[in-house]
C-alpha cells in the first residue's frame, strides 16, 4: 500500500477533527456571552417618566451612563446620591445619565426618584425587555457608552463617586 | 382488581422463593447418598425452572391487571418500578435459558428477582394517579425498556457472580476473595434492609422529628418547620431537630448539613440500618458456616463449566446492552425532550444512566478487543450491576433530582 497518497486523506480527517475540538472548546469557554466592553450598545426604545418616547440612539454624540435599577434594590439606593452628584458634575460636559427602571410602574419610579432626590432622567422598562437584551442579571448594573455608541465599561454593584468619575472620564466626548 | 393483582404478585414472590430452595437442593443435594449427581441436578433444576415459570406467569398477571386497573404501566412509583425490575430479571433469565438451556442459572437469578420483589414491598404499594410530569407514553416506554435492559444485565451479574464463586481459589484469603465476600454482603444488605423495614413496619413504633427549613436565598431565615416520620428507629436525626414523638432509641447524631431535602436524614438513617443489618447477617452466616460464604458455595458449583457461565454472562450483557441503550438513554432523551425541551440535562439520574452505559461500553471493548475473558470479565459484569444498584437505590433515595420517586 502506498503510504504517500493516503497521508493527505488522514491529514484532512485529523484536520476536521481538530477543528471540531477547537470549536467545542471555544464554545464551552464563551458560553456566558454578555453585553460588555467593546460591544456596540444595543439600541432600545423606552418611555421617559412623564411620557416622552425616547430611544438610545437619540443620544449619539454624547457620553451615556445607563444605570439599571429597581426600587426594591438596597444597593441601588446606596449609589443614587453619588450618581446624582456626578450627573450634576458632568451634565454640562456632554454626558447624559439615565436611570433605567426595571419592571416597575411609573408611580413607584417617580416616588422613588423623589424620595432619593434624583433629578436625572428616568426611563422605564416595564416588560424588562431592555434588561433581557443587556443580559442584566443583578443590579445595580451600569453601562458606560461613548459618543459612538460603544460600551466602554460595565460596572455591577453600587458605585462610589470615584468609580463613576473614573469611568465617565473614559466616555466624555 | 388491585387486590387480585397484589395476590398474584405475592404468589409470584412465594413461587420464586420456593424455586430458589429447589435450585439450592439441586446444586447442594447432588452429593447426597445414593444419587446420581447429574440426574439429581437435572431433575431438581427442571422442577425449579417449572416453578419459576409459574411464578413468572403469575407476575405477568400482576403486571397486566395492575396496568389495566391503573390505566398506566406499573412503573410510576418506586414500588412499581422495583417490582417491574424483578419481573425483568425473570424475563432475562428466561431469555438466557432459551439460548443456553441452563436451569442452574436460576439458582442465582431467581433469588435476585425475589430480593428485588421484597425490596419493592417496603415502598408504598398504592396505585397512585399520574401527576402531570409523568403523563407521557414516552415515559412509560422509557421506564419499561430501561427496566428490561437492567433486568437482562442483572442476569449477567448473576452468572458473573456464579463464575467468580466457581473459579476464585478459596484456599487462601486474597484480594479477590475479600471483594467477593463484599459483593455477597452487599446483596445481604438488601436482604437486611428488607427484614429490618418489614419488622419495624409491623411493630408500629415511630419517631417523629420537627426541624427548621431555611430559606434558599437567606440561609439564616427559617422559612417553616418541617416534620418527618421515621419508621425505623432513629440513629440519625435531622439537623437541628426536636423529637416530637420519641421512638425506641434516642438518635446518636445529626445528619450533616449538606444532605438536602426534607427526607435526607431519614434516608441516611435507612441506609445505616441496611448496612448494619447486612453486616450482622453476613457475620451470623459466616459464624454458622465457619468459612467464607463463597468458599461454602464453591463446591456446589464444581461441575459447572466455567466457560459456559462466562459466555452466558457476556451474552446477557450483549443482549441487555442495546436494550439498556434504547430504554435508559435514547427513549429517556426523547421523553426529556418532550417534557422539558432538552434531551439531556445532566440530572444526576441521567448522569448515572450514562455512567452505567459507559461502564458496559468499557466492558464490551475490553472483552472484544482486549481479550478480557473469564475472571476479569466476570468482575466487570458484577461491578456493572452494582453501579445499576447505586443508580437505583442511592441516587433515587439520597440524591433528590427530577426522577425521585417516593422514598422510605
Amino acid at each position: 500500500m502506498n503510504k504517500e497518497n493516503r497521508t493527505p486523506i488522514r491529514v484532512a480527517i485529523l484536520g476536521v477533527l481538530v477543528a471540531a475540538l477547537v470549536f467545542a472548546i471555544y464554545s464551552s469557554l464563551s458560553q456566558d456571552d454578555v453585553v460588555g466592553k467593546g460591544d456596540t450598545a444595543p439600541n432600545f426604545y423606552s418611555t421617559e417618566v412623564g411620557g416622552k418616547s425616547v430611544q438610545l440612539t437619540d443620544l449619539r454624540g454624547k457620553g451615556v451612563v445607563v444605570n439599571f435599577w429597581g426600587s426594591w434594590c438596597e444597593p441601588c439606593k446606596e449609589e443614587m446620591p453619588a450618581l446624582e452628584k456626578m450627573w450634576h458634575t458632568y451634565k454640562d460636559q456632554g454626558v447624559v445619565f439615565i436611570g433605567l427602571n426595571i419592571g416597575e410602574s411609573e408611580i413607584t419610579a417617580t416616588q422613588f426618584a423623589k424620595q432619593m432626590g434624583v433629578t436625572f432622567p428616568i426611563w422605564m422598562d416595564p416588560k424588562r425587555e431592555v434588561t433581557k437584551v443587556y443580559k442584566v442579571s443583578s443590579i445595580p448594573a451600569t453601562y458606560f457608552i461613548d459618543k459612538d455608541g460603544e460600551i466602554q465599561d460595565v460596572f455591577v454593584g453600587p458605585m462610589s463617586e470615584e468609580i463613576i468619575k473614573e469611568k465617565v472620564e473614559k466616555i466624555k466626548p | 382488581m388491585i387486590q387480585l393483582s397484589n395476590n398474584l404478585l405475592l404468589l409470584a414472590f412465594v413461587l420464586y422463593l420456593v424455586s430458589t430452595i429447589v435450585y439450592a437442593v439441586a446444586i447442594t443435594g447432588k452429593k447426597w447418598a445414593n444419587r446420581d449427581p447429574k440426574e439429581h441436578q437435572q431433575r431438581f433444576g427442571r422442577i425449579g425452572f417449572a416453578i419459576t415459570f409459574i411464578g413468572f406467569l403469575s407476575q405477568t398477571g400482576y403486571v397486566a391487571i395492575r396496568w389495566i386497573a391503573g390505566g398506566h404501566s406499573p412503573t410510576s412509583n418506586m414500588f412499581e418500578f422495583i417490582a417491574f425490575l424483578s419481573y425483568c430479571i425473570v424475563i432475562g433469565f428466561l431469555i438466557l435459558y432459551r439460548i443456553y438451556r441452563m436451569t442452574i442459572l436460576g439458582a442465582f437469578a431467581v433469588p435476585l428477582a425475589a430480593i428485588m420483589l421484597a425490596y419493592a414491598s417496603v415502598f408504598p404499594k398504592e396505585v397512585t394517579p399520574l401527576i402531570p410530569a409523568l403523563q407521557s407514553y414516552w415515559l412509560q416506554i422509557h421506564v419499561t425498556t430501561a427496566a428490561l435492559g437492567e433486568g437482562i444485565l442483572a442476569v449477567g451479574f448473576a452468572s458473573g457472580l456464579m463464575y467468580l464463586i466457581r473459579t476464585v481459589p478459596q484456599q487462601v484469603s486474597t484480594k479477590s476473595t475479600k471483594w467477593l465476600e463484599f459483593v455477597i454482603s452487599v446483596v445481604l444488605m438488601m436482604v437486611g434492609f428488607i427484614i429490618v423495614s418489614t419488622v419495624f413496619a409491623n411493630l408500629n413504633q415511630k419517631t417523629v422529628f420537627e426541624f427548621p427549613q431555611y430559606k434558599a436565598d437567606e440561609p439564616t431565615v427559617v422559612e417553616r418547620m418541617l416534620t418527618v416520620e421515621y419508621k425505623l428507629p432513629a440513629i440519625v436525626a435531622p439537623q437541628e431537630s426536636k423529637i416530637v414523638q420519641p421512638g425506641p432509641i434516642t438518635p446518636l447524631f445529626e445528619a450533616p448539613g449538606f444532605m438536602e431535602g426534607k427526607d435526607a436524614a431519614r434516608k441516611l438513617n435507612t441506609m445505616i440500618w441496611s448496612v448494619l443489618s447486612g453486616v450482622v447477617l453476613y457475620g451470623l452466616i459466616r459464624l454458622l458456616l465457619r468459612k467464607r460464604l463463597a468458599a461454602a458455595m464453591q463446591p456446589t458449583l464444581d461441575d459447572i463449566d466455567p466457560e459456559l457461565i462466562d459466555e452466558i454472562s457476556y451474552r446477557a450483557i450483549a443482549i441487555g446492552y442495546p436494550i439498556f441503550t434504547l430504554g435508559a438513554l435514547i427513549f429517556a432523551m426523547i421523553w426529556a425532550n418532550e417534557a422539558w425541551g432538552r434531551f439531556w440535562g445532566w440530572d444526576p439520574k441521567e448522569v448515572w444512566a450514562l455512567i452505567v452505559w459507559l461502564f458496559y461500553s468499557a466492558y464490551l471493548h475490553l472483552r472484544l478487543s482486549k481479550g478480557w475473558l473469564g475472571v476479569k470479565s466476570a468482575w466487570m459484569a458484577v461491578a456493572g450491576f452494582v453501579i445499576i444498584l447505586i443508580t437505583l437505590v442511592v441516587v433515587n433515595l439520597v440524591i433528590a433530582g427530577l426522577h425521585s420517586y417516593a422514598g422510605v
Binding site: 426604545y45 | 445532566w346 475490553l366 475473558l373
Partner: protein
Amino acid sequence: MNDTRKCECGHTNPVGTRLCEACGKPTEAYIQTQDPQAPEFPSMRYEGMARRSKINTRSPIDKVWNFFSSVKIAIILIVITLIASGVGTIFPQQRYIPVPVPTEESVAQFYSTTYGTLGDLYYLLGFHNLYSSWWFVTLLVMIGMSLVICSLDRIIPLYKALKKPRLNQHLSFYLGQKMHGVTDEGVSFNTSETLEKAAEGLKKKGYRVFQNGDSLMGEKARFSRWGPYINHVGLILFLLGVLLRSVPGFYMDDFVWVREGQTISVPNTPYYVKNVEYKTEYYSEDEFAQDLPIKEGEVIPKNFESKLIIYLNENEGVAGAPPKLTQVTEGSVRVNHPLTHESISYYQSGKREMELGALNFDLVNRTNNQRVGQIKVDLYEPAAEQKVGEGITVRVLDYYPDFFMDKNGMPSTKSSAPNNPMVALEVSDGKVKEKLVYVSGSLISNETNPVYELAIRKPDLLDVTGLMVRKDTMIPLIYFGCFISMVGLVMGFYWQHRRIWFHREGDRLYLAGHTNKNWFGLRQEVNQIIEPLQLPIPITVAPDVDKKKSKKEKEVRPT
C-alpha cells in the same frame, strides 16, 4: 529471500499483515515476532489484516493517528469520562441549585454554606459547572475523534478481508481456528458426497455456501461484523449534532413568566406570547384506582395547562419598541405536551397561582352613605388617575408592590412583585382632597372624619405561567444518530457472524469454525451439520485464554 511480505503461496501481503490475505497462513512477519506471549495463531478479530495504525509510526501525523486508533486509549477515555461524570453528581450542578440570581458570589456562597469545605473545593475546582467545562467537552470530543479514527482504521481492512471468502486456505489456517477438527488418519470418505451433504446442511441452517474444488465455506450474518462500526457512525452523528448546537442560532433556551392576559416578547426571537388562561386541575377521588391514604385537603394535581397565543412582531425587533403583532398560532401547553411553532417550542414548566392582579374598592360618600363608584388599582400598571362618578378624581400617589418599612423607617418595597401592595390614594371632588392609604388589607385615612371612604371588594386574582422556550435545530440529527447507533447495536449483538469451513487435503477432511460470539451456539450448529455426514470428526474448541496463560485444550467428541 528475506522479504517477509511474500507468502509461500506467492501472494504479497501489505506490511503488517498477520494472516496471508490469500491463503490464510500466518505470515513470516508474524511468525518472526518472537514474542513469547503471542499465541501461535494470530487473533481472527480483524482477520489478520494489516492496519494502518500498526504500520506507520514515524511522522507526527502517524503518532496522532495511532494514539486515537488505539482501543486502549478509547477505553481510558471512556473510563475518565465515567469518573468525571460521577464526580459531577456529588453535589448538585449550578443549574440545579436554588439560587435565584446566580452571580459568582452567591453561587460560591451557596456551595460554601451548604456543603462546607468540600463545597468550597467543589466550587473552586469548577465542578459546579463540570459538564460544560472545557476539559469535559474536550474529553467528549476526544471520544468522538477516537470513534472516527478507530473505526476507519479497522473497517477498511476488515471489509477487504471479508469481501473475499476464504477458500483453499493453508492448513495452518484451519488448524489455527478456535474451533477445528480433522478426520483421523485412515478414515475413508467420499469427498464430493460428503461436501455435498455438508453444503446441504449448511444451507438448511441458513448459511451461504461458497465452494472451490474440495474447499467449502458456509457463512452466515456477515453484516453483523459491521454492527459496531455502524453504531460508531451513529454515535459520531449524535456527537456532531450536540457540537453543532453551539453554533449561534441553532440552539436556544429561555424561560419567561407570563401573567394571564399579558403579552410579552419571547427573548431573542421575533415572537410574542400571550397567556390567555392558566389552570390547574386536580384528580377527584372517584378517579383513583383505589383508596389512597391521603390526608384531608390533600390533592393530587392532574393537569397544568396554559392557553397561549403566539404573535409575530412585524416591526424590527428593537427592545422596548412598540410591536406590530399578528397572530400566528394558538393552542394549549401542558406538561409533556409542548406547543411548537416554527421550530420554537413552548413548555409548561412553572406556575404561580392566585396572585394579586388588581385591588378593587367601592368609593363611598359617608355623608349620605352612597356608593359613588368603583375603583380598580391595577398592581402592574396602575393608572395615575381615574374618574369616579360626577367630578370625582382618584389619583394614585404612591405605590409599593411589596411593602415593608426599611431600616430607616422609610416605606419601601422588597421586590417588584405585588406580594403585599401598599397604595396611597388621593380622592378629590373639587372641594375636598382626602388621602387614603391601603396596606395589608386595611385602609387608613388622613382625615379624622373623612367625607370619602373605601370599601374593599374582592381583588382580581390571576395566575402566572412559567414557560420554557426552546429551540433545538439539531434534534433531527441527534435522533438520527441515535437511530443509526441502535441499528448498529442490534446488528452487532443480535446476530453473529459464523463461518464453517470444510476442506479436503490429502485423504483427510478438515473442519473449522469461526464466530465473533456464542461459540456454544456454533458448536451445536456444527454438531447438527456434521451428523448426517456419518463421519467421525473429533472437534476441538480451544478455550479463550488470556495471552499470559498457558494454552490448554479440551476435547469433545461428537456422539
